[in-house]
Amino acid sequence: MEIGPIWRTMLRNKSSYVLIALQIAVTMALMVNAIAIIQERTRLMGRPTGIDEDNIFTFNSTGFDPNMDFQALVAEDLDAIRNHPGIDNAVMTNSLPIRNGGWGQQFQTEPGTDVESVGTGIYFVDEHGVDTFGVDLIAGRNFTSTEINWFDPESDDMWPSVVIVSAALAESLFPDISYDEAVGKTAYVNSVEPITIVGIVKTLQASWPSWEHIENASLVPQKRGATSARYVVRTEAGYRDEVIPQIEKMLAESYKGRIIRNSKTMTEVRNDAYASDSAMIKLLFFVVSVLIAITSLGIVGLASFSVTRRTKQIGTRRALGATRPAILRYFLLENFLISSVGVATGAILAVGLNMWMVQTFNLTPLAWYMIPSAMLVLWLVGQLAVYGPARRASFVSPAIATRTV
């Protein structure tokens, strides 16, 4: 191996090698952290909402008829939807997971104003809510029809007396017991109003995708509204796209004093929720690809220049006994050494940049395998980039050595 002479040659001719090594280092630092951000975003985007996303859609029914009997209309609508072919269940609610808009509330385990509380997203549903959302009830029970009431702003009883919470919320409220033991426990809303936990669902996300406590969500047995209703419909598998226009048409025709609008599948809700994350991932992929491409071109350029500049030297080496593979190996090894300096510097830069980003943007620290993986990738990119010029060098004729011009 010619590591020693190659290294000494590089040290005597530093500038171009240092520039390429720096380019590799910067590429590595940016690539590692960009991929870490991509991983983080992908992980956030991949979290399950807990509901049957593939078969759920939602729409609004907004009345404009001043004589409309809203509560009766909702009952008729839900009855019609639930009896439509291809429909599994339906419910009127206020929002959906990751819809970027919903109802938030603080729950606490003791009554009082100075008691520590836990935030939760709230979905107002009836006894069909659990089935329509498709959430997994892992402890306790569903609501009964007798527990469902219309919200009465005149009443003193603002909140129903029972609630179904996500396992994550149960664990946040009662960290010293397992989530299933939270069934039957009392929490307090609005500081003093008691509510009894009657059921636990495995996963149910709140409406705000960027909220750090997104896994804290509750189903509350109550119907709310005066003129506008949001319906959530769960179809039988494979029927969703087919029944959406049918349901819209059916409801629009059943009562002319309202409009049906804002139909969205849960897939569209998810896409909307993470549109900026998705765009950022694409942008970062593009930036990383461009960086790698520019670095590769830099390596190709340096190697090509080096081969051209050293043609006579290569011919001399061939005359002195270097085989073609030996010349190829020389340039690959030279690139490996440059890349090694680059990735070693890049590793330090990457960790430093990540520490700053963790502190500043609350990102997750780099996974242990990111640095070695990036080093391998950049070594490989370097070797691939230099292969063409190195192969060209290996075909330099040894007879070049005897040419005087």
Partner: protein, 231 residues
């Protein structure tokens, strides 16, 4: 040592065919010091390239040290060059970024010698050429004569049977040329076969045998080298 029979070398382009060597036959005994002269474009360098396995002949038989080298592939030719042949070039062909030690080391690495063996050989040949005190110098820190001495050391380090010198004093003043010639003579005196291409009749005369090349063909035993060189 070197036996060429009816060697031809033809360079072809789309429109031109150049016969650089025609039916070139030469036998060099082991231990000989042969000078090769001839006018520019006569085929001296082509002969050197073919003899040194830097280029393949178009036809003919070439035996080096008793081995037919005509059918060897590129790797085999490279290894044979490395083991049997030492090269001395007119413009020294030292690698400017490497110091003297590393320059002499180049062919030894291709031979696959271990560190200790290489170091021993390098120090020995650098002592022979009288540059022991300059071992860490770069070529640019040496005079032309010293650089050619380094090139000679590099050629000798592998203990070749056969030295090919291409105008070894062509870039040197007369004093340095004389010193290099003395060095080559002493190397030849120790048994190494030398074939030297030169333009200078007075240097050619110092070889034991002189051959003259014209139009790619051999004219041996040139009677008047001064005249021949002028042709």
């Amino acid at each position: 040592m070197l036996n060429m029979k009816d060697i031809s070398k033809v360079y072809r382009t789309e429109s031109v065919e150049t016969h650089a060597l025609r039916d070139f036959s030469l036998h060099v005994e082991e231990g000989e010091f042969v000078s090769v002269t001839g006018p520019s474009g006569s085929g001296k360098t082509t002969f050197l390239n073919v003899a040194g396995l830097l280029e393949e002949s178009s036809s003919g038989i070439y035996e080096l040290d008793g081995r037919d080298v005509s059918s060897l592939n590129d790797n085999e030719r490279s290894r044979l060059r490395n083991e049997k042949i030492g090269f001395i070039f007119q413009s020294f062909n030292l690698i400017p970024e490497l110091d003297i030690f590393d320059n002499v080391d180049v062919p030894l690495r291709y031979r696959g010698f271990g560190n200790a063996e290489r170091k021993k050989r390098i120090e020995r040949v650098i002592d022979i050429v009288g540059l022991g005190s300059r071992i860490k110098h770069l070529p640019s820190q040496l005079s032309g004569g010293q650089q050619q001495r380094v090139a000679i050391a590099r050629a000798l380090a592998g203990e070749p049977r056969f030295l090919l010198a291409d105008e070894p004093t062509g870039n040197l003043d007369s004093e340095m040329a004389e010193s290099v010639m003395q060095l080559l003579e002493s190397i030849n005196a120790e048994g190494t076969t030398i074939v030297m291409v030169t333009h200078e009749p007075n240097l050619a005369q110092r070889a034991r045998r002189n051959i003259y090349v014209r139009d790619g063909q051999l004219e041996e035993a040139v009677p008047d080298l001064q005249v021949a060189a002028a042709l």
